[in-house]
């Protein structure tokens, strides 16, 4: 068994499939214009642009996949060796040939009628600016080398693999988030570090990139057992070992530390990172609110943006000096807020009442309709005298507490407000989850009929979920209006509802920490429906990437990034199915369809 396998020991079909997929992925990324656009962004001077990174990962991944065989229980795993590298290289080479052929096709036939971005710009990047002949050769070599590299990741020991992965990953992350790292350097008052790492025209220098990789490798090799997890465990251990009095004193210390972090964070983040944090915070609030309806009570609501709109318009109509309906008295934000909250709760009940008899898909479609209706109403001539039609309402004053003003343009100040709202909604969600009401929602989600037979008033319980969700969305909307300073119907499109839903699904339905992760990853990195995220370059491709992430998550990790325990168990039930509850499995399948 230990003999090296001959290098030709592979299934031609598998290799061809992997090559074809790789070639397709690269050509697609090039054809949609991502390659050309990203190529202007230099990551490492004279070595790597974001464009080549966008296609470079493809041969690595498929080289790795093609060379890796699934270990079958009871059979010795295949011996790793030159054969794997050969397979990886072959996949890369074939992909390179196909991609070159695509570049040649684009140069000889005009494809711009179908893919607008397949013009000379793309062809030039695909052939490394060397013309179709020599360029094709370079592309084939490029893909082959990366394919072999991908396969070698499979061949090497797991330790080495993780070191290389972390070193490469860190370097690339530091290169991609150049603007944000610079902001942070500014925040930490170490501006000098910027010129040390990056060139004035953008991008890491080769030396600094190598230095980062070397530093990370050193930390990874010698820092074993001192990582953040280990430190956390040690602190926790230390904490639990102490007497209650010391623990109580320490919890005060932790609280004080938390407040200090809260006060200092926006100052360090700087203006643009604070702006991103504010956006993430607002979507986190909306995500947590929607999670109560979808994750806890199990009602798929696709019109959630309506309540966000109610909150935003409510504040605008009551506080703006330019409100269309001047007969409404102009109020202070803090006076208007309770009114808006009550109205939102009422609207939640109003929308909820006719739809609670419905379930699953039907509920989703009807709520979708309600979301659209509300947006159209805000846009209509009928409501124009009150909400301003397409012109919306402008000059919404910002929030102030006494002499402190949280001006919308000053994202550092707004951060303080949003952080408090996020914390409040987080605590509320957590408390609700383990409350009597939360229990009744869980029962409803599991089996509505039985919940009813247990004496749970399903109508009140569902309406409560709807109106609590509505109130949370309205709070987010109110803050949004005061921050942005104006509200327009176009801010409350269906897309917003969908993005919030994607946030909680990707993060992990029903898991509060998961939703936080989802909001940071999707909204923070990719950006909200209209606002850019940290990966500014991805802005135009945001929806495409959302889609890819969503499909991938549904296929590979339907429980989300940081799932709640129950959901993870539910979705992987086959792994732990016992004969005793085989008869229940059918019920589970049905529910999956409804809740996801």
């Amino acid at each position: 068994m230990s003999t090296t396998r001959p290098i030709t020991d592979f299934e031609t079909k598998d290799v061809l499939i992997q090559s074809a997929l790789a070639a397709l992925a690269i050509s697609f990324i090039a054809a949609i214009g991502m390659l050309e656009e990203f190529n202007n962004r230099i990551l490492i001077t004279s070595l790597l642009s974001l464009g080549y990174l966008a296609i470079g990962w493809v041969p690595i991944l498929f080289g790795y996949r093609a060379s890796t065989e699934v270990a079958i229980e009871g059979v010795d795993p295949p011996v790793k060796g030159p054969r794997d590298l050969f397979v990886g290289g072959t996949v890369g080479a074939i992909a390179g040939v196909v991609v070159s052929a695509f570049a040649w096709l684009a140069s000889s036939v005009d494809l711009t009628g179908i893919f607008i971005h397949t013009g000379p710009g793309m062809q030039s990047v695909l052939t490394f600016g060397q013309g179709i002949g020599f360029g094709s050769l370079l592309m084939i070599v490029f893909c082959t080398v990366l394919g072999i590299f991908g396969a070698s990741l499979h061949v090497m020991s797991p330790t080495l693999r993780s070191i290389i992965g972390v070193a490469l990953g860190t370097t690339i992350v530091i290169a991609i988030f150049e603007a944000d790292v610079k902001e942070l350097f500014k925040g930490f008052r170490v501006r000098g570090a910027t010129s040390l790492l990056y060139t004035p025209t953008g991008g890491l220098t080769i030396v600094s990139a190598a230095a980062i990789a070397a530093l990370v490798t050193t930390i990874k090799v010698y820092g074993k057992g001192h990582g953040p997890n280990a430190v956390y465990e040690r602190v926790k251990q230390h904490h639990t070992n102490q007497s209650p009095e010391i623990r109580r004193r320490n919890s005060w210390l932790w609280g004080a530390a938390g407040v200090a972090v809260y006060l200092v964070t926006p100052q360090i983040l700087g203006k643009s990172l604070s702006e991103t944090a504010v956006t993430v915070g607002l979507f986190l609030v909306l995500g947590l609110g929607l999670n109560i309806v979808v994750g806890q009570a199990g009602m798929l609501d696709l019109g959630y943006v309506a309540f966000f709109a109610v909150g935003a318009y409510g504040i605008a109509m009551l506080t703006s000096p330019f409100r269309p309906a001047q007969w409404i008295p102009q109020l202070d934000f803090w006076v208007a807020l309770p009114i808006v909250v009550i109205v939102a709760a009422f609207v939640g009940i109003l929308v909820g009442t006719p739809v609670i008899r419905m379930r699953g898909d039907y509920l989703a479609i009807v709520t979708l309709g309600f979301g659209e209706i509300i947006q159209k109403l805000f846009l209509s001539d009928w409501w124009k005298p009150v909400v301003g039609g397409a012109q919306g309402i402008t000059n919404v004053p910002s929030v102030s507490i006494g002499p402190v003003e949280f001006a919308g343009a000053n994202s550092k100040m707004v951060f303080y407000l949003v952080a408090i709202l996020v914390a409040g909604v987080f605590v509320l969600s957590h408390r609700l989850q383990y409350s009597r009401v939360g229990r009744s929602w869980a029962a409803l989600r599991e089996d509505e009929q039985i919940a009813e037979a247990m004496g749970i008033n399903t109508v009140t319980s569902k309406l409560l979920a709807f109106s609590i969700g509505a109130v949370i969305a309205a709070l987010g909307g109110a803050l949004f209006a005061a921050k942005v300073g104006s509200v327009f119907p176009s801010s409350f499109k269906l897309l917003v509802s969908l993005v919030i839903l994607v946030v909680i699904i990707v993060g992990g339905l029903g898991s509060l920490r998961g939703i936080a992760v989802g909001a940071i990853v999707l909204i923070g990195l990719l950006g909200g429906p209209t606002l850019p995220g940290l990966l500014r370059e991805f802005g135009r491709f945001k929806l495409l990437i959302y889609g890819v992430i969503l499909i991938y998550m549904m296929l590979k990790r339907p429980e989300g990034l940081l799932p709640s325990v129950t959901r993870s168990r539910e979705l992987h039930h086959s792994e732990m199915t016992q004969d005793a509850w085989l008869d229940k499995a059918g019920d589970f399948e049905e529910e999956e369809g409804v809740t996801t």
Partner: protein, 242 residues
């Protein structure tokens, strides 16, 4: 077996129910007395489950009354009816599979706000196995254990009458026997039981009295012993085997 001469707890008086224009129950009269175990027998689509739904207020009679302790409960909401002391062990147990056993039991006591320790202790006394499984997800229990939790869940609301919907449904013969043993113990411990069942032999072997429902009408009504001996009954429901 003698019929206990105590007062009626649950009564159906000339109950008629309809689903839309279709009549399901026709002039149904049922009387269940304190501490009794009464079974309602019948084939498919005879109206057995509708009868239970009528007790719980999920189906409202078009005419006639359902009484609990002499008070009319038909027309009240399910929540109010459960509050007044009726609870159900549903067909196929239907636990909240993703919740723990303890959470399932707590949901059974959803309408109570007082201390549950005493009730939990009583259930652990009846089913020591349940205590061992408290922290486990209900879906991972074996069929027999699930039945214990389902009964325990229903008992948590301190019902005057416990409704059992097809306790033998979809279970292996060993588990069916185990199930009926559980029901018997609950009944001996003082709870009035109203059971709906297709397995007439099994049900009559532990019940005090039985009603036979046929296309919405009560066609037979006697003590369990008499029903077991009734030739009509044997032909229709008990098979011909001696």
């Amino acid at each position: 077996m003698t019929i206990p001469a105590t007062t009626p707890v649950l009564e159906f008086r000339n109950v008629n129910t309809h689903y839309g224009p279709v009549q399901i129950l026709k002039d149904v009269d049922i009387t269940i007395r304190q501490g009794e175990m009464v079974c309602l027998l019948g084939g498919n689509a005879s109206g057995k489950t509708t009868t239970l739904k009528t007790v719980l207020g999920m189906v409202v009679p078009t005419s006639g009354k359902v009484l609990l302790d002499g008070e009319v409960i038909s027309g009240l909401t399910t929540t109010e009816i459960v509050e007044r002391g009726i609870s159900m062990v549903p067909e196929n147990r239907r636990l909240f599979a993703r919740m723990t056993v303890l959470e399932n039991l707590e949901i059974g006591a959803y309408l109570r706000s007082d201390d549950l320790t005493e009730d939990l202790e009583r259930i652990f006394e009846l089913f020591p196995r349940v205590k061992e499984r408290l922290a486990q997800k209900a879906g991972t229990l074996s069929g027999g254990e699930q039945q214990m939790v389902a009964v325990g869940r229903a008992m948590m609301s301190r019902p005057k009458v416990l409704l059992m919907d097809e306790p033998s449904m979809g279970l292996a013969p060993v588990l069916v026997a185990q199930n009926f043993d559980i029901i018997e113990r609950i009944n001996k411990a003082g709870t009035t039981v109203f059971m709906v069942e297709q397995n007439a032999n099994m049900a009559l072997s532990i019940a005090d009295r039985g009603y036979v429902l046929q296309t919405g009408e009560i066609v037979l009504n006697d003590t369990a012993e008499n029903l077991l001996a009734n030739p009509q009954m044997r032909a229709a429901y008990l098979g011909h085997t001696e």
